[in-house]
């Protein structure tokens, strides 16, 4: 469940500790934004999944396959996820447009 609690800070702490432990190579090894490397990747993937699920939810709403209660529950969950993503971005000093991956010839991921 996504709740308005301290979980954002706890997740951020875990990410920083994991990247700092040396068990994984730094994703974006610069002194200025060393903390952002793994966090940026993780949050980008979460954002990608969020958009995919949002798109699917809208498709099902338009298709009339969901009850009103299910729509309400999904909407509330997505809103909480949106709030949690904003919180995580603030912790790591990331803007919404930072959550993207350059795939070279294929363009950006999102």
């Amino acid at each position: 469940m996504i709740e308005n609690d301290e979980s954002g800070f706890q997740i951020a702490t875990c990410l920083k500790e994991f990247e700092g432990s040396g068990q994984v190579e730094r994703i974006n090894p610069t002194p200025d934004n060393a903390d952002q490397g793994l966090a940026k990747l993780v949050l980008t993937l979460v954002e990608l999944l969020r958009r995919v699920m949002e798109h699917e939810a809208l498709r099902r709403i338009d298709g009339g396959t969901l009850t009103e209660q299910e729509i309400e529950q999904m909407g509330e969950t997505f809103q909480k996820l949106d709030d949690k993503m904003k919180e995580m971005r603030e912790i790591f000093g990331l803007n919404p447009e930072d959550l993207n991956i350059d795939l070279g010839p294929l363009g950006n991921l999102m």
Binding site: A57, L58, E68, E72, M74, G75, F78, N95, E97, G107
Partner: protein
């Protein structure tokens, strides 16, 4: 220690030296094509700034001397110099097609800062901000999402119309143009009092003999519309360099199997 080649680009029928910063770049040739390469940037340059300045000086030389040059996507390298010959052999036809496409042309990058459209976005962002505060029901969230999608669609349509108008005004002054959806940079902020940044970026492949006319028509467009325009160039044809390199392992495997199958047929 063996140098791992970092690819800078391809040239056609060029024999003279090219410097990358103060380092002489290397050539590996096959026929009239050659791949320009050097060591890995972090091994050649002490700072990123020096690397970027070296790239800039390389592009200036390429454009000032009308060298036929196809840039390579940044960060491409191979494990050893011998594999460069396989690359040139594999991509011989694609390289020739690519050079023919961009021959006699430069790339120019046009950035349009769209003030009127920004005003509209700023207004709708204020409305969205207040609607964010009013989201009490789950369904309201999806209504907000739909509104955002609609705004994006409207914006894309507006951009398409603007691009069509620009290209019509430019007429025959360009051979090709490139724009991706991601080139429409929208940087909204949660605080609607802050500035938006709505910028449309288009790359044009401009024949050298039409450069002056191209500049003149861009000037006319600026005068006729309320745009802030940034025009940069000439550049090598980054967005029109159609050669896409496959993985080195694939190329080497294919070249070996070609030699084996040829031997079997004899």
């Amino acid at each position: 220690m063996m140098t791992i080649p970092y690819l800078l680009g391809f040239v056609r029928e060029y024999e003279e030296s090219i410097f990358w910063g103060d380092k002489k770049a290397n050539f590996t040739r096959l026929g009239k094509h050659a791949v320009l390469w050097s060591g890995w940037p972090s091994e050649v340059f002490p700072t990123k700034q020096e690397f970027l300045l070296a790239m800039l000086s390389l592009y200036e030389k390429v454009c000032s001397e009308n060298i036929e040059f196809l840039p390579v996507q940044s960060g491409i390298r191979v494990s050893k110099e011998e594999n460069l010959i396989d690359i040139l052999r594999k991509y011989e036809v694609a390289l020739e097609d690519g050079f023919n496409k961009v021959s006699g042309c430069y790339e120019y990058s046009l950035s349009l800062h769209l003030c009127e459209e920004e005003q509209r976005l700023r207004s709708s962002a204020s409305e969205n901000q207040s609607s964010d505060n009013e989201i009490r029901r789950g369904r309201d969230y999806f209504n907000k999402v739909r509104l955002r999608h609609k705004q994006r669609e409207d914006l894309t349509q507006q951009m398409t119309q603007i691009i069509g108008m620009i290209n019509k005004k430019l007429g025959q002054c360009y051979r090709d143009y490139f724009i991706g959806l991601t080139d429409v940079r929208i940087k909204p902020n949660t605080d609607s009092n802050k500035e938006f940044n709505l910028t449309l970026e288009i790359a044009y492949l401009v024949p050298i003999d039409l450069e002056q006319e191209f500049h003149k028509r861009i000037g006319n467009l600026i005068n006729d519309n309320q745009w802030e325009v940034t025009l940069t160039g000439p550049w090598p044809p980054f967005h029109f360099s159609v050669v896409t390199l496959q993985s080195e392992g694939y190329i080497v495997r294919k070249s070996l199997s070609w030699e084996e199958s040829t031997h079997d047929r004899k």
